[in-house]
């Protein structure tokens, strides 16, 4: 049985459209609620269309701080993860050393370790290091899952570069670190962008570490939202904060589209 290409193309469009509708359904409800007044206010009825929830975000110092905290810890996390991951990815891609496969296995095991397993000791350790209730603590804790995945992604990108290029550079008298800096880095720029994006994506929305590490200070957006729940929850404000929290990611996702669609290969070790 053959299906004509036109019908096949039509099926594709229909499937994609249905999936997009499914993806957007809860988000549509969220956005609608964020623009409606859900608690009685002096100048608006319940259920009325309003921008009040969004103006409330900009006037509430705690919420403003939460946005700054979230951006800060994600940036710190990326700034730690990527420079640490690049040499490691290079080593896994190009060099063979005693225990390389076992080390990679250990890294992967840490990536898939659920945060809830390590919450208690990480809290104790970080209290002793003095990084609880600050953005540094969350940024460091999130390395647990971001670092292995970054090494994995970057390693695929480095493996895609022909080895002959390194060898030519060695003959010209370049050392390994200089080869990475001068030749490898420019060629994996889109890999670095993809890696940073994945770090952002897994880190921005994580809540288990964020919750235990910020009991008093340094609360990120997710915890600031939690704090809004109470006896009289202004659900419209909650939805507005959630909607606003998705904007940086959406912008980043759109900016990243060409890197993602240029394709990256996740390879072997």
């Amino acid at each position: 049985m053959t299906i004509s290409p036109h019908i096949f193309a039509l099926i594709k469009v229909v499937v994609l459209t249905l999936f997009i509708v499914f993806s957007c359904l809860p988000l549509v409800q969220m956005t609608l609620m964020s623009f409606s007044s859900t608690l009685p206010r002096p100048n608006a009825e319940v259920g009325e269309f309003t921008f009040a929830n969004y103006t409330a975000i900009s006037t509430n110092p705690q919420l403003r701080l939460a946005f700054i905290n979230s951006i800060a810890y994600v940036l710190i996390n990326i700034c730690v993860t990527v420079p640490v991951a690049i040499p490691a990815a290079y080593a896994f891609s190009r060099l063979s050393f005693v225990g390389d496969r076992h080390l990679f296995l250990a890294f992967i095991a840490f990536r898939i370790t659920p945060p809830v397993v390590l919450t208690l000791p990480i809290f104790q350790l970080f209290s002793q290091l003095g990084v609880v209730n600050s953005v540094f603590g969350i940024a460091l804790a999130h390395c647990l899952f971001n670092l292995p995945i970054s090494i994995w992604i970057l390693q695929g990108f480095i493996s895609a570069i022909p080895k002959e290029m390194d060898e030519t550079a060695f003959l010209d008298g370049y050392s390994r670190p200089r080869v990475i800096w001068t030749f490898i880095l420019p060629q994996i720029s889109s890999g670095i962008a993809v890696t940073a994006f994945f770090c952002f994506m897994f880190s921005w929305v994580e809540v288990v570490f964020a919750r235990i590490l910020t009991t008093t200070n340094g609360k990120p957006i997710s915890m600031a939202i939690n704090a809004l729940f109470g006896f009289h929850t202004d659900i419209g404000l909650v939805m507005a904060v959630t909607t606003a929290s998705m904007i940086p990611g959406a912008v980043l996702l759109f900016a990243m589209r060409n890197h993602l669609s240029r394709g990256f290969k996740i390879g072997r070790v």
């Binding site: 096949f8 997009i20 993806s23 957007c24 809860p26 988000l27 969220m30 609620m33 730690v80 420079p83 640490v84 991951a85 040499p87 490691a88 060099l95 063979s96 050393f97 005693v98 390389d100 080390l103 296995l105 890294f107 992967i108 840490f110 898939i112 370790t113 659920p114 809830v116 397993v117 208690l120 990480i122 460091l140 804790a141 390395c143 647990l144 670092l147 390994r176 993809v194 994506m201 921005w204 929305v205 809540v207 288990v208 997710s222 939690n226 659900i235 959630t242 998705m246 990611g249 959406a250 996702l253 759109f254 589209r257 993602l260 669609s261 394709g263 990256f264 290969k265 996740i266 070790v269």
Partner: protein
């Protein structure tokens, strides 16, 4: 063949130090705690393997393990094929790629603690967007009392949340296929299924292995999203492994929660090992194909 040089350790040293700090040290602490009876952290005494015997000898652990396994099987059997299908449906046109990828991935950007709230809001019989459609589909207002309905909500919610990750990974692997492969297939009059089976699927294998690993483990240990939906109920029917552990930690049962953590980490280690075996096998079949 890679050059066999231990200089490689120098390059992985920074990563090893960071992961040693946030991964290995906490893990050793947990292993240590799991052998003690602890009232406060300063006063504890050695009880050996007692916690392990208690946990492994209880029906509760095995029931949760069974529930988590069933949940992961459901999630993988839906999300992986669906993720591939959506990746195949994404248009080749440059502008639409960006828009389709961005819109499909939006659920990945929602803070995890808000995901159950969004779905509970959607199902709310007074204010939810679905309030007119749901009764027509036979969806009961008191769905929280029903095991199949609660499971359905959790599965649909997870599919909504994570299918996009599979899609992104697959899509980017698909774009590495050279157009000449498709042209050759067109000359041979290959059917869409044959194109998928012999050109696209082989390219997806490595990425799919990663997607399966991430989705398996994250659904097996699902925690944040489950509890607010129905508090592990009705009657414990959605109490998964991580929910059990979370309850222990909240009750400050240091010893039992540490022993439970160690058991879970052993599961993680087994999965990681199976995964690396699978990866090794994939490489050797590919090398044979190339030779």
């Amino acid at each position: 063949m890679k050059a066999r040089r231990n200089i490689g350790w120098l390059f992985v040293m920074p990563a090893t130090i960071v992961l040693g700090l946030v991964g290995l040290i906490p893990l050793i602490t947990v292993i240590n705690y799991s052998f003690f009876e602890i009232f406060v952290l300063d006063a504890r005494y050695w009880i050996g393997l007692e916690w392990y015997e208690e946990i492994l000898g209880s029906g509760r652990f095995w029931a949760s393990l069974g529930r988590s396994s069933l949940f992961s099987i459901c999630i993988l059997s839906i999300e992986i094929p669906l993720g591939i299908a959506i990746a195949l449906c994404i248009p080749r046109n440059r502008m639409w790629v960006g828009i389709a990828l961005a819109v499909v991935s939006l659920p990945l950007l929602v803070p995890w603690n808000m995901i159950p709230s969004l779905w509970l809001g959607l199902l709310n019989p007074q204010t939810g967007v679905l309030r007119y459609i749901l009764p027509a589909l036979g969806w009961p207002a008191d769905w929280k009392a029903s095991v199949p309905h609660t499971w359905a909500v959790l599965i649909v919610m997870d599919v909504w949340h994570w299918t996009a990750l599979v899609t992104i990974l697959c899509y980017s692997a698909l774009t590495t296929i050279p157009t000449s492969h498709y042209q050759a297939a067109a000359i041979d009059r290959a059917s869409p299924w044959q194109v998928f089976r012999f050109i696209q699927l082989p390219m997806l294998r490595h990425v799919l292995l990663m997607a399966v690993l991430l989705r398996f483990m994250d659904s097996f240990m699902i925690y944040t999203e489950v509890f607010p939906i129905n508090a592990g109920g009705p009657g414990g029917a959605t109490t998964f492994l991580a929910v059990d552990l979370g309850e222990d930690i909240k009750a400050f049962n240091y010893g039992p929660s540490a022993a439970r953590s160690v058991i879970y980490f052993l599961i993680v280690l087994t999965v990681a090992w199976l995964f690396s075996r699978a990866q090794g096998k994939l490489d050797s079949t590919e090398n044979e194909g190339a030779a």
